[in-house]
């Protein structure tokens, strides 16, 4: 814990005053206390980590600093002076810039237009382009001002966001989980840029829950837990376990993957080609994939490379023109819809838990009924719904997976992300699938619940179920998968066991490194066939 900082300006000479000092910041929402008397101090030129699990109040605190939300109590000192930040424009005028985690660019506008929107004074397009180029060259962030944002990859978009901030010459840069969308190589490039900025005196507030990144990059860390200050630490001096203990308040046991001989092929994709109807989507090309009984296959990749389309093709939401391109248990299912595929033993955990995984406004038991009706005969008899069976089923899931909620009649949208995800995974597991497909099963889920979900997937595998996991978290995939493949630009790489490969190889594949080799091989094969 840091010493309390006197809220007077007597000691605030320009050289010694911290760049930003928060004292006793509190923010309450009707159902939850997001921040409770939080203190935070950032020095000039410091890279300061703000750590915590999802729902720990990191985002709320940063919204308060950036003027998006106003605190109920507490004071903010900027360069030693007390300030009120009541709008983002005010924050920018002070010299605070923020790079948002998701979706803060306008997709249908160009890079230059996006940047012009964030500048408070009007800039002539010609000089703006020149300034964009200057900043992007200086910090190694190549962007083309004329391009439309929707045609850019996630990493490129992030560069646009950073350039947008840097054009305002900020003295404090807030980065909200910047690496969740980047390849390992791109992360190192980003760290280089951030270190350079810090060496020029810019303070950086780095929000993350990834421990290894924080230890690599940050000078100091402030940890939040349940909206309260859990402590401060020097990340370089701590190990992962120590930081994790601060973050979640208890110890974690690593996943165990007992050796196992995989059985027959249960899920098979053969030369699946699927053009996307979404102008911002990805076309799937020549996708081959085999998942056997008793193994977990992981698909790594940066989001937006075809994961969404692949999941739609597997679940049956999107039908394949070639009936044999998708097989479940040997049967061609390319033209079968989701309910028919479930009847063949498919369990499916979609990426969006509200809207696909569950109907937000319906109770947990109704949500159980909606997917269970296809495969659990007890819930649906002669076309009539058995409420009792659905209630019993939902209650069983809640108990088995320790879902924190008000009972089976709770509305799905009232659950926190992690608890709802536990419910959805539990529901799919207890429907007794033969093939389990899970997309981003632990995305935005706190460490404890993530652990439970991973363990549930491993137990399925141990029970001879074929499991397919799509994730952006490489650590997770290396921990629980028997085999790994990478998806990039709608193509699937060859598979590797975690022992055969490395984070570096997977990382280079994530930016498309395997495609040239695969194309060359295909040409040889085509030539041989001709």
């Amino acid at each position: 814990m840091t010493d309390s900082f006197p809220p007077t300006t007597s000691a605030a000479t320009p050289g010694s005053a911290p760049r930003l000092a928060l004292r006793g910041i509190s923010k309450r929402y009707p159902s939850v206390v997001a921040n409770d008397a939080v203190d935070l101090t950032v020095q000039p030129g410091e890279i300061h980590a703000l750590m915590g699990e999802n729902g720990a109040g990191k985002s709320t605190l940063m919204k308060i600093v950036y003027g998006v939300t106003r605190p109920d109590a507490g004071t903010i000192h900027w360069q030693g002076e007390p300030v009120t930040i009541d709008s983002p424009a005010k924050a920018r005028a002070l010299g605070i810039g923020m790079v948002f985690q998701h979706f803060s660019l306008f997709e249908t506008l160009t890079v230059a237009e996006n940047i012009a929107l964030a500048l408070d004074h009007r800039a002539a397009p010609s000089t703006l382009d020149a300034r964009i180029n200057e900043v992007s060259e200086r910090y190694g962030l190549p962007v083309d001002p004329k391009r439309l944002v929707h045609s850019m990859s996630v990493g490129e978009r992030q560069r646009v966001e950073i350039v947008r901030c840097l054009l305002q010459a900020p003295q404090l840069l807030i980065m909200d989980e910047p690496t969740s969308v980047l390849t390992p190589q791109a992360v190192q490039t980003l760290f280089g840029t951030l270190r350079r900025l810090a060496s020029e005196g810019v303070s950086i507030l780095y929000i993350s829950h990834k421990l290894d990144e924080i230890r690599q990059l940050c000078d100091t860390a402030t940890v939040l837990r349940g909206g309260r200050l859990a402590g401060t630490a020097t990340p370089r001096l701590e190990d992962d376990a120590g930081l994790a203990r601060l973050m979640i308040g208890s110890e974690l046991s690593p996943c165990q993957l007992p050796p196992k001989q995989p059985g027959e092929i249960m899920l098979e994709l053969t030369n699946l080609n699927l053009p996307s109807s979404d102008p911002f989507g990805t076309h799937l090309q020549r996708v081959d994939l085999r998942v056997r009984r008793g193994e977990i296959v992981g698909i790594a990749g940066v989001s937006g490379n075809g994961q969404k389309e692949l999941m739609a093709a597997l679940s049956g939401e999107c039908l394949s023109p070639d009936v044999g391109a998708v097989r479940i248990g040997g049967q061609p299912v390319g033209r079968l819809g989701p309910a028919a595929r479930r009847r063949l033993g498919l369990g499916f955990v979609p990426e969006e838990r509200l809207g696909r995984g569950a109907v937000p406004a319906m109770s947990l038991s109704d949500n159980a009924l909606l997917t269970g009706a296809a495969t659990a005969p007890a819930m649906l008899r002669h076309g009539l719904v058995s409420r009792r069976a659905a209630r019993d089923f939902a209650t069983g899931v809640i108990a088995a997976f320790n879902v924190k909620c008000g009972g089976e009649s709770s509305i799905a949208s009232s659950l926190s992300g992690g608890n709802l995800q536990k419910f959805i995974v539990g529901r799919e597991v207890r429907l007794d699938p033969q093939v389990m497909v899970a997309a981003q099963p632990t995305w935005g889920v706190d460490v404890g619940a993530s652990q439970m979900i991973r363990q549930a997937l491993i137990e399925l595998r141990n029970r001879d179920v074929a499991v397919l996991v799509v994730s952006e978290e490489l650590d997770e995939l290396f921990a629980i998968c028997d085999r790994l493949v990478v998806i990039a630009q709608g193509r699937l790489s060859p598979s590797r066991t975690p022992a055969q490969t490395s984070v570096e190889e997977i990382g280079s594949w994530m930016s498309g490194g395997f495609i040239a080799a695969a194309d060359a091989k295909q040409e040889v094969r085509d030539a041989a066939a001709a």
Binding site: V68, P88, F106, E107, L109, L117, P279
Partner: protein, 308 residues
């Protein structure tokens, strides 16, 4: 047909298209800010009756037009308060506004129904209006027709070139992001809705003082709805709105001529043609779903609350 007939057809086309241009461009700006105001028909009717009454009683059409714009703005403010401040559903509120406008205009205009006035005069531009053919084709319209062309260029410039227009488009695209950057979402939406109201008001006044210089109950006869359809099928592009409006005007005039020639087709069928033709052509133009996705304001019809 003689040259004079062709000139007459062209001139009538432009005259018939003008109210649609006003109403549709106003709605386009409103929708680009993410607000769907289905009350265009109602605002037009109120604009028509107010413009007519003020014009008759004051003897000045200019005053009538100003009053019509003001009436349109007041109507749109009712819509704005309900949907932007109070977060009412935009579709339902817009429909209610149309019903309200139709009833209100009929009530206010009871004693004026059927009374003719001197319509808006054609502007006489020295030299240009006296040119042979070209003068008759292009330089003998009333001021509102030229105003509609000017409005098109102004809207086009505003949306594609100005900083304020860029911010308006951004708000229609993603209000929460705009709010996070620090743009006043609600204020901009109010302004866009009021602009749409003023345009609908003047479109209505054009009907009652220029197209057919008299007040008749329900005289907009669905033009407000066509304007709404134009905006969608023109994929929110001002130039396509302009062309769509002229297409509608052209078919309106041609079917009148066809009726004059005594075709054996029922006149009801011919009266339907302009509506059908406009929609069919525009549907064909915008059948590519990507064009729609790229141009449709992503937050269209969705309310936004800064604290949520």
């Amino acid at each position: 047909m003689s040259l004079d007939t062709w000139i007459a057809i062209f001139v009538s086309t432009v005259v018939a298209a003008t109210p649609l241009i006003y109403a549709a461009l106003g709605e386009l700006v409103t929708e680009k800010a993410g607000v769907l105001n289905l009350g265009v028909e109602g605002m037009m009717l109120v604009g028509a009756v107010v413009g007519f009454i003020v014009g008759v009683n004051s003897g000045s059409l200019v005053l009538g037009y100003l009053a019509a714009m003001l009436a349109g703005v007041l109507m749109s403010l009712v819509f704005g308060v309900l949907t932007i401040t109070l977060q009412a559903n935009q579709v339902a509120t817009g429909l209610a506004l149309t019903l309200f406008g139709a009833g209100l205009s009929a009530f206010v205009g009871r004693s004026y129904a059927g009374q003719p006035i001197d319509g808006a005069d054609a502007l006489h531009i020295p030299l240009l209006s006296d040119l042979p053919v070209v003068g008759a084709l292009l330089f003998q319209f009333n001021a509102l027709v030229y105003g509609s062309i000017a409005l098109f260029f102004a809207v086009q410039w505003f949306l594609s070139r100005s900083h304020a227009g860029l911010r308006l488009r951004a708000i229609g695209e993603a209000p929460s992001v705009s709010h996070a950057i620090g743009h006043p979402v609600q204020k901009t939406r109010y302004r866009a809705v009021m602009f749409g109201g003023a345009c609908s008001g003047i479109a209505g006044a054009y009907l009652s003082t220029a197209l057919t210089p008299m007040w008749v109950e329900g005289m907009s006869s669905g033009r407000g709805w066509i304007a709404l359809a134009l905006v969608v099928f023109a994929t929110w592009k001002p130039l396509r709105v302009l062309l769509g409006a002229y297409l509608f005007g052209g078919v309106t005039v041609l079917q009148l001529y066809a009726q004059g020639f005594g075709l054996t087709v029922p006149s009801e069928f011919l009266s339907m043609l302009p509506y059908a033709a406009t929609i069919v052509v525009l549907v064909i133009i915008c059948r590519d779903p990507k064009t729609i996705l790229l141009n449709q304001p992503a937050s269209l019809g969705k309310g936004f609350h800064p604290d949520a």
